[in-house]
Symmetry: C2
């Protein structure tokens, strides 16, 4: 099934996002940060965390569900530990500040963990781990999210997709970068199977609405995503919830709202961890060891049906290289939704040409 | 299929393990620690990490592959960061020392990460996270292990089962405890399916020896375990490898030996992380919040086919309660193997009665 797409240069897309956010009342420096974080996700091929989120963000902003001006505040700071209250600020603004705290505290103490409450959607976790990594640290990011996923053996949602993300210092285009939801696949893959007319999805992806595992695409889209690999994914989601919500004193599990829930603040929790590699070994040695390990893993003979072994982050860097040169493709549907949102905030969509992909 | 079992009181089993280790030349305080760590795993129902490991441990010791007397040494210590060289010491001895360092450094700095190289098998990760947790900290433990698992899309082993483990402060019998390999299931479950005469195993458990996913039990036992949920499990195993092997300066991937490899040291890497909860909130508040979250998750209505929702660690605590009262069941095969090892080190098996389970 073919679908109509537009393709747009990343810088123009970022500027469009910026103008929409400014139109929604976001101060200019903050609008620049949010638009950069979203377009960065599009560049990496993670379109679920790209500019299509603006429709939800701006709706939340217009409803008065988010404080566009607060910078949040430190609740406690002690050694490498900090609790931060986002005060319902913009997720990216809070995350930027909290990554700076994590970097500062990790440089002072060798390792630091900043846990954040009362925050909002921060885009893709990778953006923040990468910020920490650029300071010469191992960066880890986690967050909770709208409850969509049942605990194993349960049939009602209790956890979000609660991602685990780690980025490493070193050249940004040659490294390793993990950013994974603790579900087998994102809901987006199930929606895509439906859109593509696939009657079935692989086992292990989803439950129906009654909590029974299903491979029926139609039942899955009305159902719930499955925790990664079953009970272990449930355990990982719970681990994330502890570090971002129990420890932060923030909203837990069903107390968390969501970007698609219009009437109340999201109140999600986030966690930023920095590890100062230089306390363990010179960064050049660490990078050389990573290069050796990546080389060893990539040299694994490919299993039947595959051409090569990829390491975490590699597909996204390939996307980024291609999209920086050739522009970001967005489905016609996403583009038109953005245009509707743009009209509400008096922003003007840039001219683009549509094409079949 | 029924199997012959013996049942033995935990204290007697621990004493038997202790005598075997002393017979193998392990100093008494060290033998006590190792035997306690193994029997603790048996009590929790994690028999793969219980006394059956003694057969391998003692073989390694007799081959001179392990240094029974070293306590290892600090390579670097700075802020909350430490690199430790196990100097091929007993895994449990090194882990006990490194947990103490993690506790001390976390109390001083709020959070601490001790990474260890040149170590040996440390039993179950849970034992060490729980030790850190008893000091009032969130405890995390990871390790690498014998390469058995192919990276996703590859067909030769590059990673061990590389577990992720987290334990929490609070009453030991009421909490939450995650200890999971980053494969879908342990090899033991595949061996058990074979032993029980099951012709097939669930999809997602294993590859055949050529790296093709299989549900054929016979092909699976000659094959390789699958990373948890596919490519994401591969990413998690790699994350563990970075924290325990790249960062420690130790053996990586195929450089790691194993308890079943007789001719050379294991050289595995380990990591112990402590987070001082009191830097974030009073421990009583943290515990009350955990109780609330566990209650919320356990109150989830059960999915079809299940009676209740369990949280991580709950099945193991149930085992422990039962086995403390009624003894530890061990298969006749394991018991006889132990007796053979005992005869090599001049230890005398305690009298037990066999029964059908």
């Amino acid at each position: 099934m073919s679908e109509e797409y537009i393709t747009i240069d990343a810088a123009r897309l970022e500027n469009y996002a910026f103008e929409m956010l400014v139109g929604a009342g976001v101060p200019m420096d903050r609008a620049a940060l949010v638009s950069r974080s979203l377009v960065e996700a599009n560049l990496r091929g993670v379109d679920s965390h790209g500019v299509q989120l603006l429709n939800f963000y701006i709706e939340h902003m217009k409803q008065g569900c988010m404080d566009l001006h607060t910078s949040g505040s430190i609740v406690t700071e002690s050694g490498g530990c900090m609790t931060y209250d986002a005060e319902n600020g913009i997720g990216q603004v809070i995350s930027d500040i909290c990554c700076d705290h994590a970097i500062r505290l990790a440089k002072e103490n060798g390792i630091a963990l900043v846990t954040v409450r009362n925050s909002n959607h921060f885009g893709a976790a990778a953006f923040w781990s990468q910020k920490i990594a650029r300071a010469g640290l191992i960066g880890m990011t986690m967050c909770n999210a709208t409850p969509l996923v049942p605990p194993w053996q349960g049939k009602e949602p209790r956890f979000g997709t609660n991602p685990i993300c780690m980025a490493l210092p070193g050249a940004p285009e040659t490294g390793w970068l993990l950013d994974m939801a603790t579900t087998t696949v994102a809901m987006g893959k199930i929606f895509k199977a439906n859109f593509s007319g696939e009657p079935t999805i692989p086992a292990g992806w989803a439950f129906d609405s009654e909590g029974t595992p299903t491979t029926d695409t139609q039942k899955a889209i009305k159902g719930m995503p499955m925790p990664l690999g079953g009970y272990k994914g449930s355990g990982l989601a719970f681990m994330v919830e502890i570090l971002v919500a129990v420890l932060s004193g923030g909203a837990m599990s069903t107390e968390v709202g969501g970007v698609r829930i219009r009437t109340r603040p999201m109140r999600c929790g986030q966690m930023f961890l920095g590890i100062d590699v230089e306390r363990y070994m010179p960064i050049e040695v660490f990078n050389a060891r990573m290069e050796q390990l990546i080389g060893l893993v990539k040299a694994t003979p490919a299993a039947p049906g595959y051409e090569e072994v990829l390491v975490a982050g590699e597909p996204e860097w390939r996307h980024a290289r291609h999209r920086r040169l050739h522009g970001v493709p967005l489905s016609k549907g996403v583009w038109e939704n953005l245009a509707r949102t743009a009209s509400i905030v008096q922003a003007k969509p840039p001219a683009v040409e549509s094409q079949k992909l």
